[in-house]
Amino acid sequence: MREVHTGVAIREALTLAMEMDDRVFLAGEGIGVSIHDNPLMPTYGLLETFGRRRVKDTPVSEAAIAGLAVGASTMGLLPVVEIMFFPFITLASDMLVNHAGKLRYLSGGKSSFPLTVRVKAGMFGAGCQHSHNLEAWLAHAPGLKLAFPSCPADAKGLLLSAIFDPDPVIIVEDMGLYWMQGPAPEGDVRVPLGKAAVKRPGADATVVGYGRAVLAALEAASELEAEGVSVEVIDLRSLVPLDRETILESLSRTGRLVTVHDATKFCGFGAELAAIAAEEGFASLKAPVVRVAGPDIPVPFSPPLQEFYMPNAQKIAAAVRSIL
């Protein structure tokens, strides 16, 4: 299969969706006219292709961006809005949690809100007000679906699924992936929400992650293979709905679980994964679950400090070794 950058794969999904369906429009800060004159950015060139009616540069107003999506979606449009950096999801959180996730329920099932929110995430040397992964918040909000791809094919396929899903979906894009290449199919090839991918089969331990952390997990698995340890790596791809079956099935074979994500550990998504193991996979567990995650601190700015913060292959490998 051809290789493309993740940023380009995302743009393919946006382009396809907009070509296929006039109900799809984009809105966000700097998604049309952008300071980034870079073809690897997902929305590069879309304003020129689709025009100002369908590509809306908004004022710096995150709550309004989310409100726009909520209101427009129930009017029959398929909004795809962007929150520039993950920490700013706080500003949109009332609209997402109390409205996007609840209005269908409040209506007694009469209305629906088929919106998509793309959130840009990642640790990129800008400090804690630009870098703060909060996927655990969104996963804890009823009525919202949540995807978190790790590669170009999934970034494209999950986004296509999100756009045409009848419910609100939030999709987290780790910006570090924009610059990475990988195979991705051409055309409208969707990756279903709620289906994990076994990125590498293994027998001795299961590592479950999503986003950039999957790449670190795969690296750790290679490292451990050299030591004769066989690690299964599961890429969740979608956090809500969550593919429990794939996790529990893997656990039933390996008996050992390591979770990994870039977000902080305490009450992070890894806690839910560990809890599922302790609750539903207890009979399989041969060793303690280990969570690899950011320490419970804000993301620091200085390069060696940020490096200290980041989960990486070494930390994952050490975690696996600790429970063999």
Binding site: G71, A72, S107
Partner: protein
């Protein structure tokens, strides 16, 4: 067309005002009976002239409202039966008991979204108005919010974006002099809300919110500007909540003279006598309207009372539009 010329529309306004008053009188009476209604009851008694704003809308226009919504919804044509059933938490309620009185949503009459998060409605309306512009319809969105809500950042963001994009969005601020137990001047240091419209490049009108003619004329005028693509507009209705914030609110913090002042300006009393004086209503017609409203509400009460509660497990329904999961 001006409202003065349209006797039918003015009669309809009065009819809806009677209906809303009767509906809320019924809730007030029920709320006074211990254990008769679940949760809190928030009434718009005294603010019925807002019905005229809702009646300035066409069938395809969208309405977005808030926690104090009975007048808006009934004016728009919502069925008192299913509204009251919802307020009681019954299965036959317009939202199957999921919502209750605080966020009644009636998509059937294009009352598409309701929020009890103060200040949120204008953001929801922003999205609806955007969709109308995007689809190049001739429709507009009208959103109701309170004077207290105007302090929320969300309202500012909605007005700003609507102004920049020239969306067909009519902001209706019902300034009923209070936000909870806080008087207007304690939360706003400008004399009114309407004049801030200029910050967003839109017209702002201050109207007598107890005078349905004023409300109707201004709403029709601003609505037609919105429809013409001239962008959003703001109207502020000066009015009063006669029952306090909610039915449990004894208004210990309000000067009784203030309540007295507004009681003398009851919009229903004033409007019905004006219509009678002008000959728009014949003798006995107002009284007939009032009785008809009472009958409708009695019927609604019977319907709601006789309806069963939803089955407990029904709590799990309606979260997802896609096949249920998790």
């Amino acid at each position: 067309m001006t409202a003065k010329q349209d006797a039918t529309l003015r009669r309809t306004v009065l009819e809806k005002m009677y209906l809303a008053r009767a509906f809320e009188d019924c809730i007030s009476a029920l709320a006074a009976e211990q254990g008769r209604l679940p949760g809190m009851q928030i009434l718009a008694t005294g603010q019925e002239a807002a019905a005229a704003a809702a009646l300035a809308l066409g069938k395809d226009d969208v309405m977005v409202t808030n926690h104090r919504s009975h007048v808006h919804l009934l004016a728009r044509g919502a069925d008192p039966k299913t509204l009251l059933a919802e307020i009681m938490g019954k299965e036959s309620g317009v939202n199957h008991g999921k919502s209750g009185t605080l966020h009644l949503i009636v998509p059937e009459v294009n009352a598409l979204m309701t929020s009890t998060v103060v200040g949120a409605s204008p953001l929801l309306a922003l999205g609806a108005a955007f969709a109308q512009q995007y689809k190049e319809t001739n429709a507009l969105t009208m959103v109701f919010f309170g004077d207290g809500a105007a302090a929320e950042g969300s309202v500012h963001e909605a007005m700003n974006m609507a102004g920049v994009w020239k969306l067909p969005l009519l902001f209706v601020c019902e300034n009923n002099c209070w936000a909870g137990a806080q008087s207007f001047k304690e939360h706003c240091s400008a004399g009114n809300i309407a004049s801030r419209a200029s910050s967003y490049g839109m017209p702002g009108e201050l109207v007598n919110g107890n005078d349905p003619d004023d409300v109707l004329n201004t709403a029709l005028e601003l609505a037609s500007m919105c429809r013409d693509g001239r962008g959003p507009a703001l109207m502020e209705l000066t009015t009063y909540r006669m029952h306090g914030h909610g039915e449990y609110d004894k208004q210990h913090y309000v000067d009784p003279a203030e309540i007295e002042f507004w009681a003398e300006r009851d919009p229903i009393v004033m409007f019905s006598s004006r219509l009678e004086q002008e000959g728009v209503l014949g003798e006995g017609q107002a009284e007939a309207m009032r009785r008809e409203a009472a009958d409708k509400v009695a019927e609604a009460l019977k319907f709601a009372d006789e309806s069963p509660y939803p089955a407990p497990e029904a709590a799990l329904e309606h979260v997802w539009a896609s096949p249920e999961h998790i």
